[in-house]
């Protein structure tokens, strides 16, 4: 019981730090780091649920695998966008990306 709450609280704090990073940073790569932290916190919670609530349910472990896949995909597509943006505009600062509004 205490272990589950401890692990879930760690996940919650990591999620909060991730949100702070994703909202406050101006650089695309730093924003991606915030998102990775949030996904990591989600995976931690999933493993905790598997361990302490349903150790016989393997779909939870499989969901963690899907979460890792999503992390890798997010990184790949994000880096591709960053590369293209740097090539055309010369920077990946998100405050200069307001031209995407139009």
């Amino acid at each position: 019981m205490i272990e589950l709450i401890v692990v879930l609280s760690v996940g919650a704090v990591l999620f909060g730090i991730g949100i702070y990073g994703a909202l406050s940073q101006t650089n695309l790569v730093m924003i991606m780091m915030g998102i990775e932290l949030m996904l990591g916190a989600a995976m931690l919670n999933l493993v905790a649920f598997w361990r302490y609530l349903h150790p016989e349910e393997y779909s939870i472990q499989m969901f963690v695998l899907v979460g890792m896949t999503v992390m890798a995909l997010e990184a790949a597509v994000g880096f591709a966008i960053a590369t293209q943006r740097f090539r055309t505009k010369g920077s990946v600062e998100m405050e200069e990306a307001s031209d995407l509004k139009e």
């Binding site: 949100i19 779909s59 890792m68």
Partner: protein
Amino acid sequence: MGGNFIIVMNIIRLSILIILGLGAIWFAWRVFMTSSMVRSALSLLASMAILGMMFLVMEAEFLGVLQIMMMATEMSIMAIFMMMYMMDPGGMGNMDMSHQKKLSIGTSLVAGAMVIVAVSFSNWETIATEVPTPAKQNYDLGMELMKRSMMIFETAGTSILVAMIVSTATALPFKNKKDD
């Protein structure tokens, strides 16, 4: 004798989890507080590897080792992209790389607090004490992937393929026909 041993083991495991969790939080905090970009990416790596160790403590051996392995590559790639695209990768110029501070601090505090409140006031079901052995876990996870959840796993594979194509197509330079 047996009961005492189990209690001691539980206390040891709980303290290891708390120490690792504090370490993960500390490194996650360092990610956004340092101005050297390689340090920032490697702090994230340390945070994620500590999460992997927490998986190991929670007896999910395959997932823990996989997490530790995948994050090493992913975060090193992140470090080199930071070096390439950041204005001030070494952190020598003391630039402030953040904006909308109040909003983000407020949102993160509210979100974290809400989750913690939800965690501490939920009525958890009975806590499992025994988990299958790692070998059985590997076997059953493989069976799960190949039987019931095969479609989901295949979809994940296909989305990896799509993401590879998309990222290659996006990252290719524009070619102007006049320049050829």
